[in-house]
Structures are given as C-alpha cells and as structure tokens.
Symmetry: C2
Subunit: 148 residues, 2 copies
C-alpha cells in the first residue's frame, strides 16, 4: 500500500467515527508498509477525553508489537494532532507523521505550543502536512454543520 492508500485508511476511520457521533478524525499506524493499527476518535463512546484516534493507534500498535518505541513507524491522521497527541507521537518515537487538515483551534504541531519545536522534544518525527487535507476538512465541516 502506498502513501495515499494509508491516508485513505485514516479517512475511512474518520468517516466511521463521524457515523458514531464522534468528531470525525481517524488514524492509521503503519510499519514496513503494513497497517498495524487503525482507529477513529472514540471520546464520546469511551467517555474519555484522551481517546483521540492517534492515542488509540499508538496504544494498539504498542500492544500488538510488544514495545513502547515505535521506531520506523509512520502515523497517518486526518487532522493536525493536538498537543497531547503530538507529544505522544514524540514519546513513542514515531518516525514519520502525515496529517491532513490544519487545526488552527486546537492543533499542537504548526500552532499553539508547537510541540516539536522545543529543545525538550527528545524525538522529532518527519512531518508532512496537507495529505488528503480537503477530504478530511470536508468531513469535519459536514459534521459540525449538521450539529448546528
């Protein structure tokens, strides 16, 4: 599977999250070309503010691989990670981060605390933004429009 296809997995998870009434954000954790974990946001379902898609795939991948450092892994997520998730991506030593839509309100990579831009950030992934951004943003816009 290639670059686009992995973001398509994340987009599928985002759509499924939206169908469950969750904010539609999805993620996939990929190692050696294989999807090790995939998840959508489950904050409402789990009544857990930390149950963002990125946290769920990092935890699931760690469990599946039996190691806390996901060296060599790529994380695909439809929305710019929040500061919690960006810091988790660093802590888990994810090698590459691909994300879709920017999040001016709650993002933590290109705005706000800019998690990867501090000397205290012990591991900085390669970051690729705007991947599948229009599809990811459309999902979020539809979701919030329907709620209003």
């Amino acid at each position: 599977m290639g670059f686009d296809t992995h973001m398509d997995v994340a987009l599928e998870e985002a759509r499924a999250a939206g169908a469950r009434g969750e904010v539609p954000v999805g993620a996939a954790l990929v190692l050696d070309g294989a999807v090790v974990a995939r998840a959508g946001n489950r904050c409402r379902e789990l009544a857990d503010a930390t149950a963002h898609a990125e946290m769920l795939v990092i935890r699931a991948a760690s469990r599946a691989l039996g190691r806390e450092r996901l060296d060599g892994a790529a994380l695909y997520v439809t929305l710019e990670p929040c500061p919690m998730c960006a810091a988790a991506i660093s802590a888990a030593r994810v090698a590459r981060l691909y994300y879709g839509a920017a999040d001016p309100k709650s993002g933590g990579v290109a705005q706000g605390p800019r998690i990867f831009d501090h000397p205290q950030c012990h591991h900085v992934p390669e970051v690729y933004d705007g991947v599948g951004a229009s599809a990811a943003a459309a999902l979020l816009e539809e979701f919030f429009a329907a709620k209003r």
Copy 2:
C-alpha cells in the same frame, strides 16, 4: 483527606512504580475529597510510551465516573507533567493540578512548550508546584543512581 495526604497517595504510587522497575512517578485523581483513581507509571509493564501515571488516572477516573470531563477534580502527581500529560489534563478539564518535583528535561508546564500558556489551551487548571517535591525528587534520584 487533606492536601498533603493526597500527595502521599501519589508518592506511594511512585514508590510502587520504582519497585516494579518503572521510572518512579505516581498520581492520584481526587474528586470531592475522595481518591477516584491512583496509578504509577507503567510504560515498561504495558510496553506503552503513553502509560504515564497521569494518563492512567485520567482514563481510570473517566471510566469510573462515566464522563470525559473531570470538572471539579484535582490531580496530584509527583513530577511535573510532560507536554502529553499536561495537554491531557487540560482536555479532561481537571480543575486543579498539584505537582512535586520540577522536570527541566521533559516537563511541559513550566518549561518547554508550556502547554497552559497558549491561547489555544481551552482549559487552564489552577497549578500548584513544589508539593512534596523533595520526597518526589529523592525517589527519582535514587532510581537513576541505582541504574547507573
């Protein structure tokens, strides 16, 4: 139970974590004077870089209370939270954060990305630092001295 006693619960959890070979950090989540959740760091045991004491008590408390917003809750932790945990504390709407030792290397509250100091931080807890700091720092120093 009072102020000091709750930090003592966190310190007990830190000691237990150290005895399990984990970096000795502990936390307690308190609501209306009662400890709702308590945990020590379990990164090694769970092979999960996100299994910091604060994340574990937030998730356990959310599960116990059945809600993702921990309004009114106080979180006691023996070490300054890292950026991931500080952002999780904000996301979970924890009202008050009491922490022990400062963490110049990996802290995210008073250094590095200073998670609570950005306009994008939608909820800022009251922060009390240095609570039980000497006991918390001694535990960490002993742990790292023994490893060397």
